[in-house]
């Protein structure tokens, strides 16, 4: 076996050229020898799980598409808007044919003739690479009216977004693709039944699609040998933060731990600054609960990470070392969610704003313990009430950072010292804010 299933350009330079990538053998096999049901079944058996974050089995998703309402659409989610995620970009830039082939197979499997890749707006150069690959595929007869000389039609298009995190959410993506405001839709109905232009639509992440050719080429059984039983296959881990060698690393699911990923010789090679320790890990960009160095030995597959109280998500692992102020970090993430809230539903629109306001107060040293508590309350108040998962995600950095680093929050409260040593500190604590205020007022005019 090659070293890579997905990042094959690392083995084979220039694989973005069709001449190097070779024929679309998996697609050919699918359209010439297999029925759509057989393709869906093969993917189902392989156990391939969606790589966008939720980890829903791809084959199962494809089988939800009703057969009686045509046309169907396939949409590839290449919005890659989660902070710290940069795997789809590498795939599309350096191994685009594998993505295209996978998407084409998905289109054949669900009976779609139109495939849309929704790329984030910043991916202009990536789109150029993808377009070049698409042109080659069309020229070779792998896409277009008669794929491989059959009556199968697959047309593939690229669409660049306009810069909204929410458009990575599948229903908002569809809205945006239709030319409307990027705001999530109500679910149910799910996109597989009512999707793009109200037609049945399959939406999968770019990386998910890139897995598909391998499954058809080598068979579902071969694919299942990779990874664990419930999380088969390989996954690209986007490692960033305070590590020596950040980047994309492909590994079998469940075969490495956070520790391997951060410290392994073939991976992150340890902390950026010698002598500093891992303080916190954001395992799936901004949206997953934060974990600490206690989770270092958790294996990286969907189940094990979930058991550790967080989510694997898109596997964008952001590492923070012990020099980081966690209140500041969580506030930063909250700022991101406030900025990206689409405004459609009340809890997210107002709640993220309120949480950011609380963080600003805490960071400016204007907050009391009650304010810190209020921050937690507001986060709790958002949970379970939002229209889409984004609003729910916005609370996880707040609550998880508080859970692990409560002391840091409380130390920033103006009345913190009142609590810790009972009597002696109270007089001092009462004096401090006044002192700080006078200092402030003096400082302003002079600077």
């Amino acid at each position: 076996m090659d070293k890579y299933v997905l990042l094959r350009h690392r083995d084979t330079p220039d694989i973005h050229k069709l001449s190097v990538y070779g024929e679309y053998t998996a697609l050919q096999k699918a359209v010439t020898t297999l029925t759509p049901e057989q393709v869906i079944n093969e993917v189902k058996v392989s156990g391939l799980r969606g790589r966008g974050g939720a980890g829903f089995p791809a084959g199962v998703k494809w089988s939800f598409v009703p057969k009686d309402r045509l046309p169907h659409y396939v949409t590839v989610n290449a919005d890659e808007s989660e902070p710290g995620t940069f795997k789809d970009r590498e795939l599309m830039e350096f191994n685009p044919h594998q993505v295209i082939e996978g998407a084409a197979i998905a289109a054949y499997a669900v009976g779609a003739t139109r495939v849309y890749h929704y790329l984030r707006g910043e991916f202009k150069s990536v789109a150029r690479r993808m377009q070049a690959a698409l042109d080659e595929a069309y020229a070779a007869g792998y896409l277009g009216q008669n794929v491989f000389g059959t009556h199968v039609e697959i047309q593939m298009f690229l669409h660049l977004g306009a810069g909204a995190y929410i458009c990575g959410e599948e229903s908002a993506l569809l809205e945006s693709l239709e030319g409307k405001r990027g705001q999530p839709r109500l679910r149910p109905p799910f996109p597989a039944v009512v999707g793009l232009y109200n037609q049945p639509t399959v939406i999968n992440n770019t990386e998910t699609m890139a897995n598909v050719p391998y499954i058809l080429n080598h068979g579902a059984e071969a694919y299942k040998k990779l990874g664990t039983e419930k999380s088969p296959g390989t996954k690209i881990f986007c490692l960033s933060g305070m590590v020596k060698r950040p980047g994309n690393y492909e590994a079998e699911l469940g075969k490495i731990s956070f520790r391997d990923l951060i410290f392994g010789e073939n991976f992150g090679q340890g902390m950026m600054v010698e002598g500093r320790n891992v303080k916190a890990i954001l395992p799936s960009g901004a949206s997953g609960p934060i974990v600490t160095e206690a989770a270092l030995d958790v294996l990286l597959d969907y189940e094990s990470v979930a058991a550790a109280g967080t989510i694997l998500g898109s596997a964008s692992v952001i590492v923070l070392d012990d020099s980081i102020d966690m209140v500041w970090a969580a506030g930063k993430v909250t700022h991101f969610f406030r900025h990206e809230s689409c405004g459609k539903c009340t809890p997210c629109r107002e709640g993220t704003y309120w949480m950011e306001k609380q963080y600003q107060d805490i960071l400016k040293g204007k907050a009391t313990l009650a304010d810190v508590q209020l921050l937690q309350d507001v986060a709790q108040q958002i949970i379970g009430k939002c229209l889409c998962p984004l609003g729910e995600f916005a609370t996880s950095p707040v609550l998880s950072s508080f859970q692990h680093f409560q002391a840091e929050y409380e130390a920033r409260a103006t009345d913190a010292k009142k609590v810790v040593p009972a009597k002696a500190a109270s007089a001092k604590a009462a004096a401090t804010p006044t002192a700080a205020k006078t200092a402030d007022t003096k400082a302003v005019p002079t600077t």
């Binding site: 405001r181 109500l186 405004g343 539903c345 009340t346 809890p347 993220t352 704003y353 009430k385 229209l387």
Partner: protein, 782 residues
């Protein structure tokens, strides 16, 4: 209903049709679930998250698909891990919904606290205060206190004009998108949208000129906060100071039910004024909508230009006189005319006025020369084959066909457009035939564009393609057998229709007077439409028959009243002429040669200036009466304002003149006149002011009785829903096909009907001037 679903809401057993949303099902069981973004007339979006409830569903065995039973043998209920929005979740059999637990109450408090973090809480100066869903629901379900620092509130533009009529207070907006959704889903004018995102998200108009829609005012009614206000009403009064008087819109033949919000105002010099016009719920007529003309076109009732006293022409000048002088003069001159008198009655006056006008001519002036709207043809045909009793455009759906010919529903009867659009969405099919494109073409299954003047021929082509049965006119119709596939397809639709309504417009070359006779192209068209419904048997039933697009609110009623008294066209010499509520000279026509002219009016119109006697009449809002709409629904309106000057109600003026002729009429109220109408006009038999004031339960409920959806004080229908009169066919069962040869196209240009065409009454609404000017600028090519 076939598909009823049984479920429990707070342990109350509820049975509702399949597809009902939980929030509506709860309403049926008198359980309130608070909502903001949800509105029963709009598609659910689930944005505000106020309606969260606990939902338990019957647990199904994965293998068998059968319910899992517990120890007692009843189905096990599985509750979802999260609260669900009741406004987006349809009911399921056996579902258990819980709306009153601490969990739900807590969620309601939480969401309200969030909503109020960006709300300015300027209730004391807000127009909505007192009938505001946000205010009401906060008091009922809210937390009472907030932990959000008031100083952290954002400050935005509070006086942002979306258009010349509607203002937006950006701070008050709670982003429920009701206004945007109304414009998109109901009015189909996509002129509003959101701009920016997150907490900065705000309503913005996407059209030039701003908020360019004939229905813009409705957004202020359905806005659940005081964010949208009309230029007319903003900062004028508090809702609880207003007296809402039930009324009927005096502009178009839809006959929208409205409430006149009246109060004494400082701006009006301490006098009673109409401060706002709002829709009054009548699901059979206008649901809960009115157009902007109806909303803003009331100012003529309190115009400074209103006639205050009778005027008599002396030495070429009109000078003020007493009623007695005026009556004596009129009596002398009409007596002298000795039967050579004629009356010309506008079609805006009430049925009671029209009846007594006819009676006065019959009994006092000894003449039957009475004219109403000479260029409207087919009034008699509508009286015979008009839509049957029980007609409700809101019931049209699958299998029903509406055929619109030579008319622009949007410009003539705007609220009909909203209802027809909704009918099309429910599955009804629309066929539109006109010489030009209209907004109705958007919803048409088949659009037919004919050469101007070829309207009648088109109707006969259609009829020829529907049936080739032998009939009195089949040989003549056969000549028009269509070659056009579109018309054939339309014929096919009509042939298969369960119900057929033919909407008859008057966008055709105007009749011209030739040798004292109108050449009446409209007559031929009306007869053709009548032939169509008669030949296909679509008469005498609910949702079948003719539905005319008359020019004014009571065109049909005035005809009914005059024709029942044997009115005839102007024929012989006219020595004295009496005009009521009509301005022929202002419309560019001539009066017949005569010695004496009486004009009874609200304003000193060009015709009134030529008169020998001018009598001041009361405006519709200053008196009561009834109008008959295009569906022949008789609807009652009530007195809302004290009279202007010495003006009197038209019917009363006629009664007083009759006294001069020695006639002892015992009418002391409009109600009394209606008694005589009911006794003498077959179609109006059995009507009286009591039965016209009867109301019925309206669904969905939006009035004060349930402030769940709106909380508006004006929606409640306390004035009656009116009664539809029978068509003559329903009374005597007689129908006939009659042939009128379609006139060849005259080559005359067609003046399209315009809702916002300037006129004596609408010109008095200064705030509406922009619309009138805009309408003048746009030239529609026919």
């Amino acid at each position: 209903m076939a598909d009823l679903i049984n479920l429990f809401i707070d342990d109350v057993a509820v049975s509702v049709p399949k597809g009902t949303l939980i929030v509506d099902a709860a309403k049926r069981a008198d359980i309130d679930i608070p909502v903001f973004c949800y509105h029963p007339k709009l598609k659910p979006v689930g944005m505000c998250r106020m309606c969260l409830v606990q939902v338990g569903r019957v647990k199904l065995d994965r293998g068998t698909g059968q319910p899992v039973l517990d120890a007692n043998g009843s189905p096990e209920i599985a509750y979802g891990p999260k609260l669900e929005t009741s406004c987006t979740t349809p009911v399921e059999p056996g579902m258990r919904v819980i709306t009153n637990t601490d969990l739900v109450k807590r969620a309601q408090k939480d969401v309200l606290e969030f909503l109020l973090t960006s709300h300015p809480l300027d209730c004391p100066i807000c127009d909505k205060g007192g009938e505001c869903p946000l205010q009401n629901l906060t008091l009922t379900y809210g937390p009472g206190v907030t932990r959000f620092d008031y100083a952290d509130k954002q400050h935005l533009d509070k006086h942002y004009p979306l258009g010349e009529l509607i203002f937006l207070d950006k701070e008050r907006c709670i982003q429920c998108a009701r206004c945007i959704r109304f414009q998109d889903e109901i009015a189909d004018d996509h002129v509003l949208g959101f701009y920016e995102r997150g907490r900065k998200m705000q309503i913005e108009t996407m059209s030039t000129p701003g908020f360019d829609s004939k229905f813009s005012g409705n957004t202020t009614d359905i806005c659940p906060v005081g964010a949208l206000t009309t230029r007319d009403f903003r900062f004028r009064a508090r809702p609880w100071e207003i007296t809402n008087v039930p009324s009927i819109c005096p502009h178009c033949p839809v006959g929208c039910n409205i409430s006149l919000g009246t109060r004494r105002s400082a701006k009006g010099g301490g006098e009673w004024e109409i401060l706002r016009v709002m829709p009054r719920q009548n699901e059979a007529v206008n649901e809960i909508w009115i157009c902007d003309k109806g909303r803003f076109g009331h100012h003529y009732a309190r115009s400074q230009a209103r006639l205050q006293k009778p005027l008599i022409k002396k030495e070429g000048r009109l000078v003020e006189a007493t009623w007695e002088e005026a009556f004596s003069l009129i009596a002398d001159r009409f007596r002298a005319a000795n039967g050579k008198a004629a009356g010309w009655l506008g079609d805006r006056v009430s049925n009671e006025d029209a009846w007594l006008f006819g009676k006065l001519f019959r009994e006092g002036f000894n003449s039957a020369q009475l004219v109403n709207r000479p260029h409207v043809a087919g009034l008699d045909l509508v009286a015979r084959y008009g839509v049957g009793v029980g007609t409700n455009l809101g019931n049209l759906g699958q299998g029903d066909v509406v055929f619109i010919v030579a008319g622009d529903v949007e410009e003539t009867a705007p609220v009909h457009m909203l209802r027809l659009k909704a009918a099309v969405e429910r599955g009804a099919k629309l066929i539109v035939a006109n010489a030009r494109e209209t907004k109705m073409d958007r919803y048409a299954a088949i659009s037919i564009q004919y050469q101007p003047g070829m309207d009648t021929q088109t109707v006969y082509s259609l009829l020829a393609s529907v049936s080739n049965q032998q009939s009195a006119i089949s040989s003549q119709v056969a000549k028009f057998a269509p070659s056009d596939n579109k018309i054939k397809a339309a014929g096919q639709l009509i042939a298969e229709a369960q119900n057929l309504i033919v909407m008859l417009g008057d966008e055709r070359p105007y009749p011209v007077m030739v040798q004292g006779q109108y050449t009446d192209a409209g007559r031929a068209l009306a007869q053709a439409c009548a032939n169509l419904v008669v030949a296909t048997g679509h008469i005498g039933k609910a949702n079948n028959g003719l539905l005319p697009l008359w020019p004014h609110n009571n065109t049909q009623g005035v005809y009914d009243m005059l024709s029942a008294q044997g009115a005839e066209a102007l024929s012989g010499e006219v020595k004295a002429l009496y005009l009521v509520g009509t301005d022929p000279i202002g419309e560019g026509q001539n009066l017949p040669p005569t010695d004496f002219v009486v004009v009874q009016e609200l304003f000193l119109t060009p015709t009134a200036q030529q008169a020998d006697v001018v009598l001041p009449a009361l405006a519709w809002a200053e008196r009561d009466g009834t109008f008959t709409n295009a569906e022949r629904r008789v609807q009652r309106y009530y007195k809302a304002l004290p009279p202007t000057g010495q003006a009197k109600a038209d019917w009363e003026i006629f009664r007083l003149i009759a006294e001069k002729f020695g006639l002892k009429w015992s009418f002391f109220s409009a109600e009394g006149v209606m008694h005589e109408i009911a006794a003498q006009v077959a179609a109006y038999a059995g009507l009286d002011y009591v039965c016209l004031a009867e109301t019925k339960e309206e669904w969905p409920p939006v009035g004060t009785s349930s402030d769940l959806y709106f909380g508006g004080t004006a929606y409640d229908n306390r004035g009656g829903v009116g009664a539809q009169t029978k068509s003559l066919f329903e009374i005597n069962g007689r129908s006939e096909l009659k042939w009128i040869e379609p006139p060849p196209p005259s080559g005359q240009s067609i003046e399209p009907r315009r809702l916002n065409r300037p006129g004596t009454l609408i010109d008095q609404s200064a705030i509406y001037e922009v619309r009138l000017r805009a309408a003048e600028l746009v030239k529609i090519e026919a």
